[in-house]
């Protein structure tokens, strides 16, 4: 979204103007923020919780919490990054409730060695997406990313799917930049390796397996 140039040289993000109006009680201004970001919050929540009902609850709770805490939004980070941090925390809380008695955090299972060095040498067909129909492909992508440890999955989703910068992802998750980089690399390599089972050359022609 473009920044708005103010009278001086300072640029103000349009979200900040909406936040300021919402703080003064303008619910319609907050409605614009909801409409701007509800799809993204839903996607993130669904990726983390792996549960549709939980994701719906997270969307409601995250926006409501953001509205209640608008005074705490400092403007040092983007509103979207601040909102995502709330949504990630709400999602992890829901996940913990589902897995009663089991601690869930973004540090879970990140010690695995899988993905640190690629093993699959097979190249993919020139257009792997065309090997499958849209819904079949969506199933493959869902199944594949669900297999990642939560600590890798959330980094991949924020960084590569939602387009946050490495620094924003680190800030959102309370991780260091090197930790985000390390998890992102391993998440990407693990996903690549798992997708190779479907996309490798000649897979559908009975070739290399």
């Amino acid at each position: 979204m473009p920044n708005i140039q103010t009278q001086g040289t300072e640029e103000v993000h349009p979200d900040v103007l909406l936040v300021n109006r919402a703080r003064e009680g303008d619910v319609q201004a907050f409605e614009k923020l909801v409409k701007q970001y509800d799809r993204q919050v839903f996607r993130i929540a669904q990726h983390i919780t792996q549960n549709r009902e939980d994701a719906e609850d997270v969307v409601q709770d995250a926006f409501l919490k953001a509205y209640e805490k608008l005074d705490q939004f400092q403007g040092n980070s983007k509103f979207y990054t601040w909102l995502v941090r709330i949504a990630v925390n709400e999602s992890l809380m829901r996940l913990r409730k589902r897995r009663t008695g089991r601690m869930v955090s973004i540090d879970e299972d990140v010690e695995t060695e899988e993905g640190s060095m690629p093993r699959d040498l097979a190249d993919w067909s020139p257009n792997p997406e065309q090997q499958y129909g849209q819904s079949e492909l969506a199933d493959i992508l869902r199944k594949t990313i669900q297999g990642l440890p939560p600590g890798f999955r959330v980094v991949f989703v924020l960084r590569d799917v939602e387009g946050l910068s490495t620094e924003e992802t680190a800030e959102t998750l309370g991780l260091s930049v090197p930790a985000v980089k390390s998890r992102l690399l391993r998440a990407r390599l693990q996903l690549r390796e798992r997708l190779s089972r479907y996309f490798r050359k000649n897979k559908r022609d009975g070739g290399a397996e």
Partner: protein, 77 residues
């Protein structure tokens, strides 16, 4: 450069955040290592596929219902 050293720089290479000197070293490695060429190309494709396909879409009717519920709660705050 070894494959392990190449992989350690892969993300920065994909995001074009490497120096000219390092890029030259990485490209030199790629000229002699098909394994790393495949790894780089398929990793790039992995990111593209996930970026380009909406796998958790929020249906319009559910979206409208959620928006209504959120704003109703906000008005009560």
């Amino acid at each position: 450069m070894t494959c392990t050293e190449f992989i350690a720089q892969l993300d920065d290479l994909l995001e074009e955040r490497v120096t000219v000197t390092l890029r030259a070293d990485l490209e030199e490695h790629l000229r002699g290592c098909e394994h790393c060429v495949i790894t780089m190309n398929t990793t790039r494709k992995t990111i593209e596929i996930y970026r380009n396909h909406e796998i958790y879409e929020l249906p319009n009717d559910l979206r409208a219902r959620l928006q209504k519920a959120i704003l109703a709660k906000c008005k009560k705050c």
